[in-house]
Symmetry: C2
Subunit: 249 residues, 2 copies
DNA sequence: CGATATATCAATCGATCGATTGATTTTGTC
DNA sequence: GACAAAATCAATCGATCGATTGATATATCG
């Protein structure tokens, strides 16, 4: 379950760290308590930062929810700020890992000699995969909330998130560009991509409201299938005009 | 500019208020300082609560940004919590006011004998109006951020926002229902409405990221026109299948 | 002008925040 | 078992939080 390592990605957290988990050339424990505590703190912080924001999320609450001592945060990460950076890195790493295969495939296709028919199929595949992974993966709601929270106070780690997850890592713009005869970085391609991502993000950011309208307490398989079908249908229709209708499944 | 009154909508803010602006049967001042201070505090709080969240937004910061004294918050509103409630009421009031005419028109249409052709035109009108008002109105980004922030910590004033802005006030579900042969409160109608709203909300919640991709510092008329065109086109195509293509402008 | 309600202000309260400390427990090597 | 590094813990620090206080300033009446 806990694949994360993170190890020493933040040495001196702003100039404070007196003692840190050296992780030098020392043997690993048979049962690494430290790594487990670190991971529990990371997940608790991911939820707390995303839900309450950086300042409102108290280290005491994070430590308590991680079943760890308050001082463990400074011990394992260096400071509250460093913990926030570690969470950012974790989110980027997780999303990148989940996206890697499909995005690489789409990028490879774009680097070849793409045409509209192929781009439409590739877009459908990418969207289907984004919807599934972003809605099925349980942690994904935490990732979305954390990232969108950063947007509201665009100072902290906004740049890192942007560079790793948005700029040119995402082949969505390229596919849209081909289908609509637009330059990949043209304003319209960017706006069109945003409207597509918005249809997915709304089910993260607005989940409480949607759950209430649906009269549910959680999104079950039935609702997730419905959401996936509607989003995929919508995008199929949006890009459908670019090509004569076909039977691509 | 300041139409707001709010007057005595929160009497005793949780049982604290020793002195409050009585606003009894006393004549209004020629130059009402209190109302101005109250409104400046309200706008500053709207921005701060939406941006940093309830707890992270400090009353000292709000007072400073409103060019008012710290104690003015308790004096005019009763407490930080009451200020938050007042902001919620203000947002509901503003959105309701901006939406009133168009939503009433759509509701009237739904209460008549609606057909698909009329519903499509009505939907197009409603969407166009939502896009324009939500993107053109300068305060709208603050409203969206505030509401979406509530979603992340669905405790506080979530119910009030939901009841006034979502439940059955919004005729979007009804129009979608007619166009897709769905019951207005069916799961699919709700999900379809959400994907439509997501295409608009993304430009509020993700504005910093989109601005960066566009290489802009702000959304000018040019970009707003583009966004409006793309969103309206998308929705036209999404619902277009429900009807044979026509030339309705 | 007083008289009075309205409004603003600096100073201060207890509570909680992030961070630090020194002691203690756990773990692995010799 | 002796020893040290890794890890956890309770207690505590100064800073800042929301809220309160009493004094002062402003505005509208008789």
């Amino acid at each position: 379950m806990a694949k994360l390592e993170l190890e020493a990605s933040e040495r001196d957290a702003g100039g404070s760290g007196p003692q840190m988990p050296a992780s030098r050339h020392y043997r690993k424990a048979r049962h690494d308590r430290g790594a487990e505590t670190r991971h529990r703190l990371l997940l608790a912080a991911l939820d707390a930062f995303g839900r309450y924001g950086f300042e409102a999320a108290s280290t005491r609450d994070i430590a308590k929810r991680a079943d760890a001592n308050l001082a463990a945060i400074v011990y394992h990460f260096g400071s509250k700020e460093a913990l926030h950076r570690a969470v950012t890195e974790y989110v980027i790493e997780q999303i990148t890992r989940h996206m890697h295969t499909e995005q690489a495939e789409a990028r490879d296709y774009l680097n070849g000699s793409p045409d509209k028919a192929g781009a439409r199929i590739m877009l459908r595949k990418l969207i289907r995969w984004k919807v599934q992974s972003m809605l099925r993966e349980e942690e994904a709601e935490l990732w979305s909330r954390f990232i969108l929270r950063e947007q509201m106070d665009p100072s902290s780690t906004f740049d890192a998130v942007y560079e790793h997850l948005c700029s040119d890592q995402d082949p969505l713009n390229g596919l849209i560009g081909i289908l609509f005869d637009l330059a990949p970085q043209s304003d319209e391609a960017i706006v069109r991509s945003a409207t597509i991502m918005g249809q997915i993000f709304i089910f993260h950011i607005g989940r409480p409201m949607i759950l209430r309208r649906l009269g549910r307490n959680a999104l079950g398989d039935e609702e997730l299938d419905l959401i996936a079908r509607v989003v995929e249908e919508n995008i199929d229709r949006i890009v459908g005009f670019a090509l004569p209708l076909e039977t691509a499944a």
